[in-house]
Structure formats: C-alpha cells, structure tokens
C-alpha cells in the first residue's frame, strides 16, 4: 500500500472530474475527517487518514481491501472507476438522471438508460458528460455518460438512449467474482 504518484493522481482525478467536476476538492480537502488515496496492488482506495495509518501494520499480501475501493488501473495505465465508488460519486454528483420505477430493473441488469425510462434529469448536462443515475426515490443506482445534452435529449424517441451505462449496482451480483480481487 502506497500513496499515488503524481502521474497516477492525475489519471484518477481526471476520471473523477468527469462525474463530480470541481467537487473533487471536497474529496481531497476534508478538514474534519481528512481522507487519503492509496494504491494497493492495482486498486485505488479512498480511506480516512486515520484508518490508512492503521492499515500500514497489515502486510501487503494480507491486505485485501481498505476503506472504499474507487477503481483499478488497467494494464495500459488507464483508470477504471468501479461501482464501489458510487456513494462518493453520488454525494458530489454534478449531473444527475432519475429513472422511473419501470426503468430500474432494466438498468440494474446492465442496460443503457432509455428516454422512456427517464423521470427527470439535470438541466445543463452537456453531451458526453459523466452522469449519476438515481431512482425516483433518490437511491443512487449507477453512473454513465450522457449520449446527448439535456436539450437534445428532450426531442429523442422514447426508445433512444439518453445515457450509456458505465457501472450499476447490479454488478455487485453480476461481477462478484472479478470486482473485488
């Protein structure tokens, strides 16, 4: 377990900025309860500072997970955001899409967000921006990338895709084998 290098930090933050924009500063500067980013194997964890200190006493091969896993570095050096980061992403989300009850299950089975299922969405979403998907009762369900800006999306067909799915909480079941180790 080690802190991220300059290069790694940049890659990670760029990715996070897609979803939470400038709110990233809340992640980095939390005065009351400072948090840190740590790399263990190929995974990036976001941990309360105090917990990170305790985790140093666990040997590297035995440390399976610590705090919240944000995602992992691929072999090509890109950063892939995992669904486990959703609680933080949802907290600081910039662009939001709410889907109706009838769209919940299709989305949780790994489908993209269709126009017909959208109950509500943020007004100022540009094209190809990271969005967080919520149910109508404000439960975060996943994240994705908008296919069209909000204005354009208004004129779409009901079967057209509004947001491309990138992660959803259904992965806790579907990807259980690969997601966590």
């Amino acid at each position: 377990m080690r802190p991220l290098t300059e290069e790694e930090t940049k890659v990670v933050f760029e990715k996070l900025a897609n979803y939470i924009g400038r709110n990233i500063s809340f992640l980095v500067d939390n005065q009351t309860n400072p948090h840190v980013f740590r790399l263990q194997k190929d995974r990036v964890y976001y941990i309360p500072d105090q917990v990170a200190k305790f985790a140093t006493s666990v040997a590297r091969p035995q440390l399976m997970s610590v705090g919240t896993c944000f995602g992992k570095f691929t072999k090509t050096g890109k950063f892939r955001l995992h669904i486990t980061a959703l609680p933080y992403m949802a907290q600081y989300a910039k662009f939001k899409v709410w889907i109706k009850q009838n769209g919940e299950m299709p989305f949780l089975y790994g489908n993209h967000v269709l126009k017909a299922h959208v109950g509500r969405m943020s007004d100022d979403i540009p094209e190809h921006a990271g969005v967080i998907v919520y149910s109508m009762s404000d439960v975060p369900l996943g994240f994705g990338v908008s296919s069209k800006s909000t204005n354009e999306a208004r004129n779409l067909q009901p079967t057209a895709i509004v947001a491309f799915r990138q992660g959803d909480i259904g992965e806790y079941l579907r990807e259980e084998d690969t997601l966590f180790t």
Partner: protein, 607 residues
C-alpha cells in the same frame, strides 16, 4: 405410554373368576325368580327399564371415550399390526374386556360387539322387567325396590373390584425385544412406528418410576431412543448422543424437530443508508410480506413471503439491507461498539457482523475485518462495499497471528469457526459429518483464538476493553469449556453480562465437569426456544494487561505451545483430583449403604 395406560381396563378375569361371576349371577337370577314367585302378585316398577337404559348409555359413552383420549384409532391398529407385541394390550384385548363387562348384564351377549349392542338395546332382563312393570302394584313395590338396591350394591362392589384390578395393571411395554429389533433391521423401515415409539419412550423417561417396564433400566430406554433418533432424523450416533445429552428428553425431541424446519428469513436494515420504517415500506410496496423480528432488535425484519427475489431487489443492491440470520445480530449487540473505537472482527466473512459493527459505529473509528480464508474475503469485501462501510480494513491472516499483527483494540469480536451444531437446519451435512475428532480439534483451535482475542485487547481502553466470544454451535465443548479455559489461562479477564434481552444461561456444570460459576452470565440460544439458530454468546471484560499482550508469537508458535500444554495436562484437567482409595473407603461404604436403603434392602441384614 402414560395416557393410554390410564385408560386401560384391567386384565381379563381368569377362568375361575369368570365362572364364579357367572355362578353368582345365575344364583342372583334364581333368587329373584323365587322371590317373585313368593310375592304372589307380580313385580315391577317404572324404574328398571329406565335404569337399564341409563346404564347402557353410560356404557356406550365409556366405549366411545375409550379412543379419543389415546392416539387416533387407525394409528393404533396399524401399529399393532406392524408390531403386535409392542403394545401388548391394545384393541384386541380391550374388546375382550368390554365383552366381559357386558357379561355382567347379559350372559348371552358374550360375543356381541358394541355395534350390535347398540342396534339392539335390549337385555334378557328386559323381558322380565316389562312383565314386572305390568304387574307392579303398591304391595310389591317396596320389595322390588329393595331388590333393586341390592343389585345396585352388588354392581358397585364389582366395579370397585375391577378398579382395583385395573390399578395393578402391568406397565406398558415400549421397547422392542431383540428378535423384533433384528426383524426391523432387515425389513423396510416403518417411520411412523419409530416416531410413535420415540414419543412413547420420552413419556416413559419423563415419569420413569411409574411408567417404566420392570427389569428395564433408564439406559435401555435412552439407547433405544437414540437409535430411533438416528434412524428418524438421520444423525450419526455420536452427534445424536452429544446433542441429546444437552437437554431433558422432551426438550431434546423439540430440538431435533426444530432442526428439520428452516428458520425464517431475516434481514438487517443498514442504518448507514436507511431506516427500518422506510425500508419496510419500500419492500411492502414491492410485494414483500414482512414484520419486525422482535422487541429485542431495532434493525431486524422477518420475511414471510415475497413476490420478488429478496436477494436481488434494487434496495438490496443499493445496500439498504443484508440477509442475515437473527442469531448473528446477537454478538454484535453484545459487543456494543462505540463511535471512534478500534474494533477487530477475527473471523469476519461473509461480513454480516462486520457491517453491523460498522453501522453501530456510524462509520467512525476503524474496524479490522479478518478472515483466514482468502476465497471468503471476496464476499466480505463485496458486502462491506455494498453496505457502504468506509472505515474497514480487510485482511487475510490466521487470526492467531493477532496481536502480533496489531494489538491494542478497544473491542474484539470472535465469532469462532465451529462445528455448526446450532445451524443444522441450514446445513444438514453436519448431522453425519461431525465426528469425535472434530470435537477435539475445533475447541482446540477455538481456545487459541480466544486467547489471541483476549491478548489483542487494550485493557486500559477508556470506553472498551471488551471481548465477545460467540459460536453457532450448542456443544458444551465449544462454548462453556472454551470460555472456562480462557478464564483459567487469562486471569486478567472477567465475564460480564452480555446485555442481551433474550437467551438462556450458560451451563456452570455439565456431566460431572464444573465450570467457573460466572459462566452463568453467558447466553445460549436454541432453535426451539427463540426460533433463531442455535447460538452461544459470552462477553468478557479485560481488567488488566498481561505479558501475553506483548507476545510476538505467531500462529505456529501458539499452536505448538498449545499442543505441548495439552500433552502436559492430559485429557483430565486440573480441576480433577486423584483418588485416595484408603481415605475414601468410609465414604464409599456409606454411599453403598445409602443406595441399598433406597432400594429397600436392609444393608445390615446380609451380614
């Protein structure tokens, strides 16, 4: 055999008795005749036919009562057919007895069954009575009523005698003979019969003095019962005996039966993400039928039935609840972690308890979740992330490595790996897979783990210093014996009240072994009492630090140390003194005398 034995009529009279009765009756009839002849006017009254009818009705009622009290009739017949001698005195004999009674009223009806009697409620006497009735007048009335009184008296006398005979009836024979056992071995198993026999034996064991067959010991009954339990429920003989010994016979039966029924599905609300009321509302809208588990928990919900898979709803995926057995709430509630503490869960997978601890701490402080099995840490990590626990560290050590890895925790939860005798309903394989060896090896590991847990705690913690030991087993070897061992090895801990609202006290002594009296502060849970899995919870408080806390011994060193210790101590622990035969002789003599007296033998008579 209790209920049936009470209902039974006495043995049929011997031929002599029978003849005597017959003679007496004939005599009586003759007397009556002569009397009648003597009273020139014929005899009669309104009463006799009425009386006869009443008597008959009463008899009928008796006949009907015969069966409903005991087991269903069909059952009985089947059984007696299958194993005639098992219930020596069942229907066949009773019929004879009934006929016998009828004899008193009517000789001719010897072979009549009840039905016929009902169809033809007439007695040979009736004819006479009717003729008597016609001839009734004021003069002979007195004489006739006198005669009736005499008859009544006689009958009452007979009835009384019968009652006495009934009281000394032989005791029910429940146990099969050797031949029958052999026959049963070969033939197909009769499950209903075995079940009935188990119930009968338990009745006998509960009231051994009165119901036991002569010449059979309690052990005979118990052995048969254990064999039947093995056969009926499919336990290995070893495990059946082990579990049976924990309870009184009737309770043991309840326990074995409860193990055949699955416990209700329960879920725990994740208070980090939602509230129970909101969650219940959402799930009810999805067509789930649920209800709070009980007053002892504020986060548990019991699921009765559901139209959707309860492990795949959006709420489940969003981490608002976790499927968790009600029993595994208990150790966390006993641990009672406070905010900003550092807690260790030594055997954490699949994370139900870890996430509960984290939720109780409101995501503050730090929770170490350890599990020795790397494959199982996957589900642990999944649950921790799904439920949004941000203060956890998941590691994969042999838990005996603590406190070498890190010590000084405020609280430690040890939900030890165990034989699983409390969760037989969940995992049937336990019934046959557990052997005597398991009950030596598993406690051996548990003891080391518990010592490691104790050593990992900071005695000077301002808020904590608590160790909770729990297992999902009900065996004494894995629970009280382990706790007692820890109390002996670590005098710097003491047992404290678990703070749980439900549960039975731990055993302070068991089959000749005496444990620390404080062990009554620990709690046991059984499937048949609280409808939770079998469980055991003990809560310690560490009162001072010891040299062991500084120990840098790893799992291997501890294992070898424990082995050498076990060899030194042997099987018999230090709580067992050696025998001094000479010194004990007067005590032994006294005991022999006392036992002879109890049996009704004069101990001095022999000499």
């Amino acid at each position: 055999m209790g209920r049936r034995a009470k209902n039974k009529q006495g043995v049929p009279p011997s031929l002599d008795e029978f003849q005597a009765k017959k003679d007496r009756r004939e005599q009586r009839i003759q007397e009556r005749e002569t009397k009648r002849k003597r009273d020139i006017a014929s005899v009669g009254s309104q009463a006799p036919p009425k009386k006869q009818h009443k008597k008959f009705q009463k008899k009928q009622a008796d006949d009907i009562e015969e069966h409903p009290e005991g087991l269903p009739e069909v059952d009985l017949e089947e059984l007696s057919a299958a194993k005639k001698s098992l219930f020596d005195d069942s229907d066949g004999e009773q019929d004879v007895n009934e006929d016998d009674i009828e004899l008193e009223e009517d000789d001719e009806e010897f072979y009549d069954s009840d039905e016929e009697a009902r169809v033809k409620p007439m007695f040979s006497d009736d004819d006479e009575d009717e003729s008597d009735l016609e001839n009734l007048n004021a003069e002979n009335m007195e004489a006739f009523s006198k005669q009736l009184d005499e008859e009544d008296e006689l009958e009452a006398e007979e009835a009384e005698q019968e009652l006495l005979e009934g009281a000394v009836q032989p005791r029910a024979k429940v146990l099969p003979t050797e031949e029958e056992e052999e026959a049963a071995e070969v033939g197909p198993k009769d499950v209903t019969m075995v079940r009935t026999r188990m119930i009968e034996i338990i009745k006998v064991l509960e009231n051994f003095k009165e119901l036991a067959e002569d010449g059979k010991s309690r052990a005979d009954y118990t052995n048969r019962l254990l064999k039947d339990i093995c056969e009926y429920f499919g336990y290995s003989e070893f495990l059946a005996e082990k579990l049976f010994n924990l309870f009184a016979p009737a309770e043991a039966m309840e326990f074995f039966e409860a193990n055949e029924i699955a416990r209700p599905i329960t879920i725990r609300t994740n208070t980090l993400k939602t509230r129970r009321r909101d969650l219940a509302q959402t799930l009810v809208n999805r067509g789930v039928n649920l209800q709070p588990i009980g007053s002892w928990t504020k986060v548990g919900l019991q699921i009765f039935d559901s139209q959707v898979p309860i492990g795949a709803t959006p709420e489940y995926l969003a981490g608002q609840y976790i499927l968790q057995a009600a029993s595994s709430f208990l150790p966390c509630m006993a641990l009672d972690p406070q905010e900003n503490e550092r807690v260790l869960d030594m055997a954490a997978a699949p994370g139900g308890k870890t996430t509960y601890i984290s939720a109780l701490m409101k995501n503050t402080g730090c929770v170490f979740a350890n599990d020795a099995n790397k494959a199982r840490t996957k589900s642990l990590i999944a649950n921790i992330h799904r439920l949004g626990c941000k203060n956890t560290i998941v590691c994969n050590y042999d838990a005996r490595e603590f406190p070498k890895v890190i010590g000084g925790f405020d609280r430690v939860l040890l939900d030890a790996p165990c034989s699983g005798t409390g969760v037989i309903a969940k995992d049937e394989s336990v019934k046959v897979s557990r052997t005597e060896k398991d009950f030596i090896q598993i406690p051996h590991l548990q003891k080391q783990l518990l010592l490691s847990a104790i050593d990992s705690v900071d005695a000077n913690s301002a808020t904590g210093g608590i160790i909770v030991y729990s297992t999902c087993s009900i065996a004494v070897d894995e629970n009280e014996a382990v706790v007692d061992y820890a109390l002996r090895k670590r005098p710097n801990v003491k047992l404290v009240d678990t703070g749980l609202q439900i549960g039975k006290e731990g055993f302070t002594s068991y089959r000749g072994k005496h444990f620390n009296p404080k062990i009554s502060l620990t709690r046991r849970y059984y499937p048949h009492t609280y409808n939770v899995d079998g469980f055991y919870v003990a809560k310690f408080k560490k009162i001072s630090s010891s040299i062991h806390d500084e120990s840098k011994a790893g799992a291997r060193e501890k294992e070898s140390l424990a082995r050498s210790e076990a060899e030194e101590e042997g099987i018999i622990n230090g709580d067992f003194a050696t025998f001094e035969d000479d010194e004990d002789k007067p005590i032994m003599d006294q005991a022999i005398k006392r036992s002879m007296k109890r049996k009704g033998i004069n101990p001095n008579a022999k000499k």
